[in-house]
């Protein structure tokens, strides 16, 4: 029986008086493709941000690949993780952002090679060779020397995916990666992700409003509302036959808004 690669245990996240996540627990198995759906403010993006250590947690524990994420052992005690521990843990996780967050002062190739060279000590030649393979995979090899300002949104996002992959993370987090794109550019990014899902055994967590894509991409769909998992299951169950009323209402609204399921 394989162990979960992500084990979220009773985490709480508060912003001042506002509780975003209230005792959330979930496990993710290695290689699983998860789609997190739900209304805005339901806490799904917060989970990705917590896993990437972009937020702190107010309570609970998270295990990544057998190690505590926000805690570390000090003798027999479990204490808050320091920066060195966080950096060790971050090396297992990659993230792609809604607004790409490319480095605007660097060309696409340098965007991809920067982190491997700095954090893994990869030599420039090797880093560039690997970067070109990745850029080729996302269809961006001919744009390697372009700077982000010269790219379309879809191209930027594909470059950002290559950049995250360059560190070979075990877990990839995709945070509404097509939400900032013009409609005609969504497809090219989704195709890259489909390819990734099919070709790699990476664990992938996806927050999305593209229900059709969530359906095709995910092994498991989790519907979030108000910081809790309301319902989860195989995509066909959730999308064709949702059991909870809140899930039904949400999906009805999404379809009425013109999204394909």
């Amino acid at each position: 029986m394989p162990q979960p690669i992500i084990r979220i245990d009773n985490i709480v996240k508060r912003y001042g008086p506002l509780t975003v996540l209230d005792g959330l627990s979930m496990d993710v198995m290695p290689g699983e493709k998860l789609a997190l759906i739900g209304p805005s403010g339901s806490g799904k993006t917060t989970i990705l941000r917590i896993l990437m250590t972009l937020e702190t947690i107010s309570g609970g524990h998270i295990q990544i690949d057998g190690d505590q994420l926000y805690h570390m052992k000090k003798g027999a005690d479990l204490v808050a993780a320091d920066e060195a521990h966080l950096r060790r843990m971050r090396s297992k996780i990659g993230m792609v952002f809604q607004h790409f967050n490319l480095f605007p002062h660097k060309c696409v190739l340098d965007n991809v090679t920067l982190a491997p060279m700095l954090t893994q000590g990869v030599k420039r030649g090797d880093a560039e060779k690997r970067a070109m393979e990745l850029l080729d995979m996302v269809g961006m090899a001919d744009k390697a020397r372009s700077v982000p300002a010269q790219l379309s949104g879809g191209q930027k996002q594909r470059a950002a995916i290559a950049r995250a992959l360059a560190l070979s993370p075990k877990i990839m987090l995709f945070d509404e990666v097509t939400s900032a794109l013009d409609p005609e550019l969504v497809e090219e990014v989704l195709n890259v992700m489909k390819h990734l899902a099919a070709e790699t055994d990476m664990t992938m967590l996806l927050v999305t409003h593209e229900m059709g894509f969530a359906h095709d991409f995910a092994d498991r769909v989790l519907f979030f509302d108000r910081g809790k998992i309301v319902e989860q299951g195989k995509p066909e169950e959730i999308f064709r036959n949702p059991k909870q009323e809140r899930t039904q209402t949400f999906l009805r609204k999404i379809i009425a808004a013109g999204h394909r399921v």
Partner: protein, 219 residues
């Protein structure tokens, strides 16, 4: 005419001192600007407090008073400086305090999204600053740094008060000896302007060079 050429040489020698003060003062100001500007962004309280104290003190008191302190009061504490050293120190510390706020503002202007990308790519705090934040913040600092350098250049005139023979000091000498104000002061007017124009031209060139990739667009 031969009399005048002697006086003009005097003023040109003064211009050299002014140039020296401006370059050395700017160099010190630049170092202080980064030390204090980044210091204000530190996670360590003591570093933040030290940087804030420095900035507030030097922005809050006049360059004139600071110069006299450095030149006439420090010797009482056993630290005697030449007029040039005192001038560079006072000017550099004073302008550095303004520059520090420029550094801090420019670093903060680089969005949180860039830092988050760095965290996701597992860069260390130093690497984030060195390879991602500062290269983007630097072009934002340049126009104001140019202003500061010009302010410093013009500020150098106060050092004539501690008997440093800068351009203004020499113009005063010429005026006292010839009774003519028009010629020496027109001359230093032109020289000051030429120097500040050189600074702004150089800054514009640097700015263009450094922001070439950004094209005014952030992604």
């Amino acid at each position: 005419m031969s009399v005048w050429s002697g006086y003009l040489t005097l003023i040109l020698e003064g211009a050299l001192v002014t140039l020296q003060l401006t370059i050395m003062g700017s160099a010190l100001a630049l170092v202080m600007a980064f030390l204090a500007g980044l210091g204000r962004l530190s996670r360590i309280f003591a570093v933040r407090a030290l940087a804030t104290t420095y900035i507030e003190f030097f922005r809050g008191t006049s360059i004139f008073v600071q110069l006299f302190w450095v030149y006439f009061v420090l010797p009482l504490a056993g630290l005697t400086l030449t007029p040039l050293q005192a001038g560079v120190l006072a000017l550099g510390l004073n302008v550095g305090a303004y520059g520090a706020e420029v550094v801090r503002g420019a670093v903060k202007a680089i969005g949180r999204e860039q830092t988050e990308a760095c965290v996701a790519l597992n860069l260390s705090r130093y690497q984030r600053m060195r390879y991602v934040i500062l290269p983007q913040a630097l072009p934002l600092m340049l126009p104001t740094f140019g202003n500061n350098a010009i302010e410093l250049l013009k500020g150098t005139a106060v050092v004539s008060l501690i008997s440093l023979t800068d351009m203004t000091f020499q113009a005063q000498v010429v005026r006292a000896q010839t009774g003519n104000t028009l010629i020496p002061f027109t001359m230093i007017l032109i020289l000051y302007f030429a120097m500040s124009w050189t600074i702004s031209t150089a800054m514009r060139w640097l700015e263009r060079r450094m922001s070439r990739n950004l094209d005014g667009v952030r992604s």
